[in-house]
């Protein structure tokens, strides 16, 4: 049996743990304060959709005295870890699925009281309210969780007896992995509910929805096809990108931003003792029309796998130069390090002179990472990254303190 544990309005709940006055409407904005990425129930009740642009609803939110926060991912990340650790006190079989969701596996079905005990402990230990859906398969447990949230009961167990009726009332788009696009395709074929999808022929599912869709259909029938993945998959690529506080036209400024993303990504892959074999750079243009953002991208395959920041910055700047258009207003750039291979497996290039130089590069990066870890991010950095608090930095005007990760920002009690 799978239990999907999902934190209710997670980011908002995190803010509320440290700020009990936040009883009313609360919204949390995305990086850059652009979109609304978390809503308290009160904000949901105002009819403000998930992901809505902040500026569009600013007035409505103000009128209802909504407290608005910039996202505080440091806090949310730590609170997420705490929730996951608490869940592991019930079973070692926990798959962290996202920052606010985890699948738990139990060999047998649990009583509702047992699931309520899980909710209770997570609430007491971390302050975060969660909902739990339990069923035979992951897809069904997602559905059960959806129902638990909708009914506000906190716990829903889908048992064989009442599944058909539940599926019959479950809209196709809300099934895990279907989404709007697949949903409208299925609707065009007359399939509107989970029950109808469960009962399609295998051959039909395979033909129209590939093996992924077939698996989904089987999961709806209660045949588990998606096992618990306990270990996060080894990373194949790392992306580093952020939106700018305001559009940028200057090439040098773009270079600085891009270089700092390269540095960050390199640091990440070095942490996993990986090297990249592939580098992509992309830039998103801020068009006059607010909804059209063309993305330009260019990539190269590296002559040898590397995690050496200066080299990758040089390459990234070359790629960026091929994308750059004079006068264009850029709203975002980013880079991807792909084809990650473990350092030991790295294939050597026939024409590279190895030995000392590689060793020196390795040493230098080790020192860089150690100093940055010890004395704070970016103590040592490439000149290409520009000044420490750059112009292009994100807007995060309304961020709450890092209550659990910075000594000078912890909670004060009287």
């Amino acid at each position: 049996m799978f239990a999907l544990v999902d934190c209710n309005n997670f980011y908002v709940s995190c803010e509320r743990v440290f700020n009990p006055r936040l009883k009313g409407p609360v919204a949390v904005l995305s990086n850059n304060d652009g979109c609304i990425v978390a809503r308290s129930q009160e904000v949901k009740d105002l009819g403000i959709p998930m992901g809505a642009p902040f500026f569009k609803y600013k007035e409505l939110l103000e009128r209802h005295r909504t407290t608005v926060f910039s996202s505080n991912y440091t806090l949310y990340g730590d609170m997420s870890d705490r929730v996951m650790e608490t869940l592991k006190t019930f079973t070692p079989d926990v798959q962290v699925y996202s920052i606010d969701e985890a699948f738990l596996y139990f060999p047998t079905v649990k009583e509702a009281e047992e699931l309520h005990a899980i909710r209770q402990r997570v609430k007491q230990w971390t302050g975060i309210p969660v909902s739990i859906g339990m069923a035979r398969t992951k897809t069904l447990s997602k559905m059960a969780n959806h129902l638990a949230k909708k009914q506000k009961s906190g716990v829903v167990i889908l048992e064989d007896g009442d599944i058909a009726q539940r599926l019959q009332n479950f809209p196709i788009e809300d099934i895990w992995g279907i989404g709007r696009q697949y949903g409208s395709f299925l609707r065009s074929k007359g399939i509107r509910t989970a029950l109808q999808l469960r009962d399609v022929e295998d051959a039909w599912a395979r033909k129209h929805m590939t093996v992924v869709g077939l698996r989904m259909v089987w999961e709806l029938r209660g045949i588990s096809c998606l096992p618990l993945e306990e270990l996060p998959l080894a990373k194949k690529s790392v992306i580093c990108s952020k939106s700018f506080g305001h559009p940028i036209t200057d090439f040098e400024e773009l270079c600085e931003a891009t270089s700092s993303y390269v540095a960050r990504a390199c640091e990440k892959i070095r942490k996993y003792d990986s090297q990249a074999t592939f580098l992509s750079v992309f830039a998103v243009v801020h068009d006059r029309d607010d909804h059209y953002y063309p993305t330009y991208k260019n990539s190269i395959t590296l002559t040898e796998p590397t995690a050496y920041t200066p080299h990758l910055i040089t390459e990234a700047k070359k790629l960026l130069a091929t994308l750059y258009r004079e006068g264009a207003r850029y709203r975002k750039t980013g880079i991807m390090l792909g084809g990650l291979v473990p350092k030991t497996h790295a294939q050597l290039d026939l024409f590279e002179t190895h030995g000392k130089r590689k060793e020196q590069q390795d040493k230098m990066m080790t020192v860089l990472d150690r100093l940055n870890a010890e004395y704070g991010k970016k103590v040592l950095r490439s000149a290409a990254e520009g000044k420490p608090t750059p112009q292009w930095g994100m807007r995060r005007n309304m961020r709450s303190p890092a209550y659990t990760t910075k000594w000078n920002e912890i909670l004060t009690v009287l």
């Binding site: 929730v83 230990w125 971390t126 909670l411 009690v413």
Partner: protein
């Protein structure tokens, strides 16, 4: 492009793996202490029983002075412990955080300061009251 999701653990308690009793001296005599090395004492280990449920908060004011809690001290707060009468707790009263001793007399619940200059506070059943966590240690700077 594929979305990469990843999570970083902030540095919390540092439970180091067992130390390797490996003498750095290649030539010469091995340290006679090599066989006796134990893990160095770790304050986290002593003060934190439930890392997932433990938070640090800073005290402002002297209402708990006689309990050895001074302004500026840091409290280790364990949310997993049951708030029973007699424990020092961090509570939320009408939206404000406060540290006091929890005392239950019959059906009445009191939040008691430990400083004669502060009055006891009886929790109004109507008020918005919640125990946030139980204080397990007080960290006081001595220099």
């Amino acid at each position: 492009m594929k979305q990469v999701k990843e999570f970083f653990k902030p540095h919390g308690t540092q439970t180091d793996p067992l130390p390797i009793a490996d003498s750095p001296v290649q030539a010469g005599f091995p340290s006679p202490a090599d066989d006796y090395i134990e893990k160095r004492l770790d304050l986290n280990e002593m003060m934190i029983q439930h890392p997932a449920a433990t938070f640090f908060v800073r005290v402002e004011g002297d209402s708990m002075m006689d309990a050895g809690i001074r302004s500026g001290d840091i409290l280790v707060v364990d949310r997993s412990l049951e708030p029973v009468s007699g424990k020092i707790v961090v509570a939320v009263v009408n939206g404000d955080f406060t540290v006091k001793r929890l005392v239950q007399k019959g059906k009445k619940v009191y939040l008691c300061p430990e400083n004669p200059q502060f009055p006891n506070f009886c929790v109004d059943p109507e008020s918005d009251f919640e125990v946030w966590g139980v204080v397990t240690y007080v960290i006081h700077r001595a220099i």
